[in-house]
């Protein structure tokens, strides 16, 4: 499967990542060689095999619907832009 730059652009948009043109070229090559390795999977007949399910070893223990009071979470300390006790972000459009 050949990875094209247009596909990489779509992925970068989905992942919200800005990278330089240099990095793009580098990643294209590297990702291509990584993806080429994935053909190792094709030597197995996977048709009828069910996909792995996480947490299938554990019982689904549910939480009781009780409220626990909130603690100090140092929101203002860690927030890049804290205003009126909210996280401020720039204009969306």
């Amino acid at each position: 499967m050949t990875l094209k730059e247009e596909q990489l652009d779509i992925v970068l948009s989905l992942a919200q990542l800005d990278i330089s043109q240099e990095e793009k070229t580098q990643y294209l090559t590297q990702l291509q060689s990584i993806l080429n390795q994935m053909t190792a999977l094709d030597q197995f007949d996977l048709g009828q095999i069910p996909p792995f399910e996480t947490g299938s070893l554990t019982s689904s223990e549910l939480r009781e619907d009780k409220v626990e009071p909130s603690k100090d979470l140092m929101l203002g300390v860690n927030a890049p832009h804290w205003e009126l006790h909210c996280f401020r972000v720039p204009k969306i459009i």
Binding site: L14, E53, T54, S56, L62, S70, L73, V89, K91, I93
Partner: protein, 483 residues
């Protein structure tokens, strides 16, 4: 060219749990910004979700009341996208294996609307835009995560609705059901119930679907119906002029009564769903489902049938009762305490006079001092003939103002209505004596004059004369007079 309208509704209902879907933060309304938060709903590094049992039960209840199959094995999935009100950068929802599937809701006249699925998911936080009411024109936004991770169920209908009217009926019934089930407040205006409409047109008789648009911002039943009408018109005009519909999300604007494009529903929203690795599959036992089935609240449609057939209430009575859960609860409580009274009478009083009195006094069924058993007492006094209906209306007002019981108020008035014939006859005679010229008028056929005399009798008895008896005696006594 005749077009058929095809509508599917996606409805989100906020569940009435105490805590959030994946953490123990409160979901109570009205807290100041970012107070009801914790590492989990904030999406702090290292935090993990743990599923709320009550939310699962509520989801099962919704499924059972909407005739769905409850999946014994369902899986949570991540819906990945970036937005400031989505702290983890993904929403935990359900995708391939939802909690409930393949249900239905019968609306209007035996119209069965299919329900594709119901699944659990978490709500996002809130954005308050700075310098504008909406995103457009805002200088920035403030993110409040109190609401983040509030439990929701998403109810997806099959594209079986064919008009705005049907869509409205569906929503109204859905609201009634979730309210009756006790799982959701069902308030469109406040946002505990939210609807998005998927609308498309196709030539009548066609079985393939046309391109659909999604319409958002439908925060009342009225705007739901209107938005659909408006969007159908818009699509019709495009198709008739040879154009094609763009698959997109549109916003309904109540003020301009139109829909405007929000964004294209294209690959930009590839959500890359995959099973949530932090949550094991949700496995439900037969015993649990059976338990919930056994304790389900009465289905509103069953209730309506009972009201119509057993209580002999009218269609419009039922509509009012089913739409207002507090009113209905009050009605039922009064009925419980007054088995000797006719349900229709109780219903009339609750829907009519009591509602009016509460409105005037800015009170509600839950805050009024008039307890159901007090209303029952009042109606019993009418039933016994102790007071007239008119008297009762006045007493009701006083009951709201003072909180006193009807019997006490009647005693204060100096007793109930006068129903003793001889006493009343005496009073009637006295009035006639004082109004001889009116008697003549009545005898010559002017019935209005009789009303005047009734009024005088009422005045003299301070409203306590039993009206029908007074009228009967009046006519009798007039008849007796030779004049």
């Amino acid at each position: 060219m005749v077009f058929e309208t095809v509508i599917g509704l996606e409805v989100h209902a906020q569940l009435k749990t105490q805590s959030k879907l994946f953490c123990a933060c409160s979901v109570a309304f009205g807290a100041s910004a970012n107070q009801q938060v914790c590492p989990v709903c904030l999406g702090l590094p290292g935090a993990l979700p743990v599923l709320n049992k009550q939310a699962v039960y509520f989801g099962i209840i919704a499924g059972l009341m909407l005739n769905c199959r409850i999946n014994r094995h369902s899986v949570f999935a991540r819906k990945n996208y970036f937005y400031p009100d989505l702290p983890k950068g993904y929403q935990i929802s359900q995708f391939e294996l939802p909690l409930c599937e393949k249900g239905y809701l019968d609306i209007l006249d035996q119209r069965r609307i299919g329900i594709t699925r119901i699944h659990l998911e978490e709500d996002a936080g809130k954005l308050n835009h700075i310098g504008s009411n909406s995103i457009a024109g805002a200088q920035g936004s403030l993110v409040d995560l109190n609401r983040a991770s509030t439990p929701l169920i998403e109810i997806v209908s099959e594209p079986d609705l064919r008009s705005g009217q049907e869509a409205r009926a569906y929503m109204e019934l859905l609201k009634t059901i979730v309210e009756h089930a006790g799982i959701c407040d069902g308030n469109l205006e406040e946002g505990s119930l939210r609807a998005d409409a998927n609308i498309s047109l196709r030539p009548m008789g066609s079985t393939t679907y046309g391109t659909r648009t999604e319409v958002k911002n439908l925060n009342s039943f009225r705007s739901l119906e209107m938005a659909i009408q408006v969007e159908v018109e818009r699509q019709k005009n495009i198709l008739l002029s040879g154009g094609t519909i763009v698959q997109e999300t549109r916003n309904f604007d109540e003020a301009t009564q139109s829909t405007t494009s929000l964004r294209s529903k294209t690959n930009a929203h590839d959500y890359r769903y995959f099973p949530e690795p932090d949550l094991p599959p949700l496995v439900l036992t037969e015993a649990l489902i059976q338990d919930i089935q056994n304790t389900l609240p009465e289905h509103p449609q069953k209730k309506k049938a009972r009201y119509l057939n057993d209580y002999h209430l009218s269609e419009s009575d039922c509509k009012v009762l089913l739409q207002d859960i507090q009113l209905d609860a009050y009605f039922r409580e009064t009925l419980e305490k007054g088995a000797h009274l006719a349900p229709k009478d109780i219903c009339n009083w609750v829907i009519g006079d009591l509602t009016a009195v509460l409105k005037e006094a800015h009170s509600t069924f839950s805050t009024t001092p008039i307890q159901p058993e007090m209303l029952c007492e009042l109606l019993t006094l009418i039933h016994q003939g102790t007071i007239s209906g008119k008297m009762a209306k006045d007493i009701l007002v006083t009951m709201q103002q003072s909180g006193q019981r009807p019997k006490a108020l009647v005693d204060k008035m100096g007793g109930g209505q006068i129903s003793d014939e001889s006493e009343l006859r005496g009073i009637v005679d006295a009035i006639l004596d004082q109004n001889l010229e009116v008697v003549v008028k009545v005898k010559s056929g002017k019935s209005n004059s009789a009303d005047f005399l009734i009024g005088q009798i009422m005045k003299a008895t301070k409203g306590k004369a039993k009206p029908d008896l007074a009228r009967a005696l009046l006519l009798e006594q007039i008849e007796k007079r030779v004049l």
